[in-house]
C-alpha cells in the first residue's frame, strides 16, 4: 500500500475564472491589462507594469507604504482590487515629477531629510499629496493625525511633518 501526502482534493471542482480586462491611466499613460480578479492594484503596478516605486510593506492596509492616488484620492493599493479601479487615473511616486523637476513634496523631503531607509517614502509622499489636496490639515498636529495611516519604521516623523509643512506653504 502506498501512502501519499497529497491532500485529497478534487481539482475538477476549482474553476479558474477568466482574466478581466482593466484599463487604467497610470501616470498619464493609458494602460490595458488582463488581470485575474484577485490581483491587487499594488501587484498590478509592481508586477505587471514594473512600477516598483510603490512599496509593499504589510500588504494588509496597516502601514501605508503602498499609498497611491486613484482619481486624486489617496488609497492603500494593497486593499484595492485592480479590477475595481477600471477606468481610473492612478498616480504613483513615478508620476509626480514633471519635466525633470521634482514635485514640491519630493524636494521638501530631501530638504528636510525626511527619511532614513526610504521604504515608506513613496507612500508618505503620495499620501501627503492627497492630504494637501484634501485641504483639511492646517497645523502640525493635524498633519500628524491625517498622516497617521503612513508608518515610518525609522521614526522620521518630525522631518516628514516639516517637509509637508514646507510643501503646504508653497501650494
Amino acid at each position: 500500500m502506498t501512502r501519499t501526502n497529497t491532500p485529497q482534493r478534487s481539482r475538477d471542482k476549482i474553476s479558474v475564472p477568466d482574466k478581466i480586462s482593466v484599463s487604467l491611466i497610470v501616470n498619464g499613460v493609458e494602460t490595458q491589462l488582463k488581470l485575474a480578479p484577485w490581483t491587487t492594484l499594488l501587484d498590478a503596478l509592481r508586477d505587471h507594469l514594473d512600477l516598483t516605486g510603490t512599496k509593499k510593506g504589510c500588504d494588509h492596509g496597516q502601514c501605508g507604504a503602498c499609498t497611491v492616488l486613484v482619481d486624486g484620492q489617496r488609497i492603500n493599493s494593497c486593499l484595492a482590487l485592480a479590477v475595481m479601479t477600471d477606468g481610473a487615473k492612478v498616480t504613483t511616486i513615478e508620476g509626480l515629477a514633471s519635466d525633470g523637476a521634482l514635485h514640491a513634496l519630493q524636494q521638501a523631503f530631501i530638504d528636510h531629510d525626511a527619511f532614513q531607509c526610504g521604504y515608506c517614502t513613496p507612500g508618505q509622499i503620495c499620501s501627503a499629496v492627497g492630504l494637501i489636496a484634501e485641504g483639511k490639515a492646517k497645523t502640525a498636529d493635524e498633519i500628524r493625525e491625517l498622516m497617521s495611516g503612513n508608518i515610518c519604521r525609522c521614526g522620521a516623523y518630525p522631518n516628514i511633518v516639516a517637509a509637508i509643512q514646507q510643501a503646504m506653504g508653497r501650494s
Partner: protein
C-alpha cells in the same frame, strides 16, 4: 488569495439580483480588509 470571480453591478437592482443569485457572493466597495481574509 483564494480564487474568485468579480462582477460589477450596473445599478442597485442589478447588484441585488447578482448577490441573490450566489450564496457565496459578497459586496466589495473601496479599500477593505475583506481582501486580507480571502
Amino acid at each position: 488569495m483564494i480564487n474568485f470571480q468579480y462582477a460589477r453591478a450596473t445599478d442597485v437592482a442589478d447588484a441585488v439580483r447578482q448577490i441573490a443569485a450566489d450564496p457565496t457572493a459578497k459586496f466589495i466597495a473601496g479599500g477593505t480588509n475583506l481582501i486580507d481574509l480571502m
